[in-house]
């Protein structure tokens, strides 16, 4: 099962939850390190990033209360529930009139079941930090899609007929949150990401050193630049990409926004 299918399965589950409970207005899931796994089609990516950002302070001090199990926000027009499912958090926003028990039954049963099922079928995506190119599923190009489908079918047929000598690893893609990178000696053409992500990529490509990455914004703007591991422990393991101002302005993005990053292999 590819990561695309994995993300698609979760996204479909979240959309179905909304169909079953129309009082649920938004749902999405994110990992402990802040990476967004999947979201329903009504919740913009930027909103999800801002929500995850707003939980930063709580999650940082979660140890003081033995780790977070759930968060409930009550407001005059609705509620927000955050529940922990394995190592992921499920965010559910409901209207004021929503039947809490029904919402809880659906979310606390359906989501863990799907997660369990997916982990049984394909345990990899939840256990590593490889991210899902979700927007690719959201932005299908109608004309090309049919071509791609026929191409895929032909390839599948060919694969069935001939035995492939070596399976090439699928290019991994991570969703990372932009953080400013400044200073006198900071090169303007280099971004910094988690050492762990770089190691995983290098492992995937049999030890090849990753020196460059391709960055893509959700508006479709792309750039290639050098990459180095994050120096400050403050930003480690948080799904952050430290980016000089020059690259940020080239991509027309700013701190707190989400970008897709993948390694460039020569």
């Amino acid at each position: 099962m590819t990561e695309d299918v994995y993300a698609f399965a979760l996204k479909t589950t979240l959309n179905e939850i909304q169909n079953v409970c129309p009082d649920i207005t938004n749902t999405f899931m994110f990992k402990e390190n802040g990476e967004i796994i999947a979201g329903d089609e009504d919740t913009p990516e930027k909103t999800m990033v801002r929500v995850v950002d707003s939980f930063d302070g709580i999650l940082e001090k979660a140890e003081a209360i033995g780790g977070i199990e759930g968060i409930t926000l009550e407001a005059s027009k609705g509620r927000v529930y955050v529940s922990k499912v394995n190592d992921t958090y499920l965010v559910t926003v409901t209207s004021k009139k929503a039947d809490i028990q029904y919402v809880n039954t659906v979310t606390r049963v359906l989501v863990p079941t799907v997660l369990k099922l997916l982990e049984k079928i394909s345990p990899t995506p939840l256990k590593n930090t490889l991210q899902l190119p979700e927007a690719k599923l959201e932005e299908p190009e109608p004309i090309e899609e049919t071509e791609e489908l026929t191409e895929e079918l032909t390839t599948e047929k060919l694969e069935e007929e001939t035995v492939e000598p070596e399976i090439q690893p699928e290019t991994p893609m991570n969703q990372l949150i932009v953080e400013n990178l400044g200073g006198l000696l900071v090169p303007s053409d280099t971004v910094r990401i988690d050492r762990e992500i770089l190691s995983q990529w290098e492992e995937l490509y049999e030890g090849k050193k990753i020196g460059e990455v391709e960055i893509e914004t959700f508006d479709g703007k792309m750039t290639q630049c050098k990459v180095k591991p994050i120096k400050s422990s403050k930003y480690e393991g948080k799904g952050i990409i430290q980016m000089p101002e020059k690259i940020q302005s080239a991509l027309e993005i700013k701190k707190g926004e989400l970008v897709r990053v993948k390694p460039i292999i020569y």
Binding site: N26, T47, E63, A64, I65, I68, L73, E74, G78, V93
Partner: protein, 129 residues
């Protein structure tokens, strides 16, 4: 005659401020929080406003962590409410494995109550409103 007038004024000025102090909503809030603290399972509270802050926790080693958690929860609640257009924030409950925290704003006062997991916050909320 003059002496008598002076003494009556003095009495008036002495009693007036005392009466105002008793009626302050903040004083009442503090009294309520002190009572809440005696409830079974309640670990303590943090009360903050623009002029003062009061922290009363059974375990003083966790004061900083709890204070950050309290302000983070209240900030998150405001942010979430704005993002999802949920209107006025009533309260936010952060449940941990061992402890849970109820945070809310009453007038200008930002309050967080720390309690064991089995404590019912419904009774506490009634007391605070």
């Amino acid at each position: 005659m003059v002496k008598k007038k002076k003494s009556s004024k003095e009495i008036v000025t002495e009693t007036e401020p005392l009466a105002i102090e008793e009626a302050t909503p903040e004083t009442k809030l503090r009294e309520n929080l002190e009572e809440i603290k005696t409830y079974e399972g309640v670990i303590g509270y943090i009360l903050r406003n623009s002029t003062s802050a009061a922290i009363d926790l059974k375990d003083p080693t966790k004061i900083i962590d709890y204070a950050i958690l309290s302000s983070s929860a209240l900030e998150a609640s405001e942010e979430l409410s704005e993002l999802f257009n949920l209107g006025e924030t009533h309260n936010i409950v952060v449940e941990g494995k061992d402890i849970k925290v109820l945070s809310l704003t009453v007038d200008e006062n930002r309050i967080s109550i720390f309690a064991d997991k089995d404590v019912d916050f419904g009774k506490i909320l009634k007391k605070l409103h």
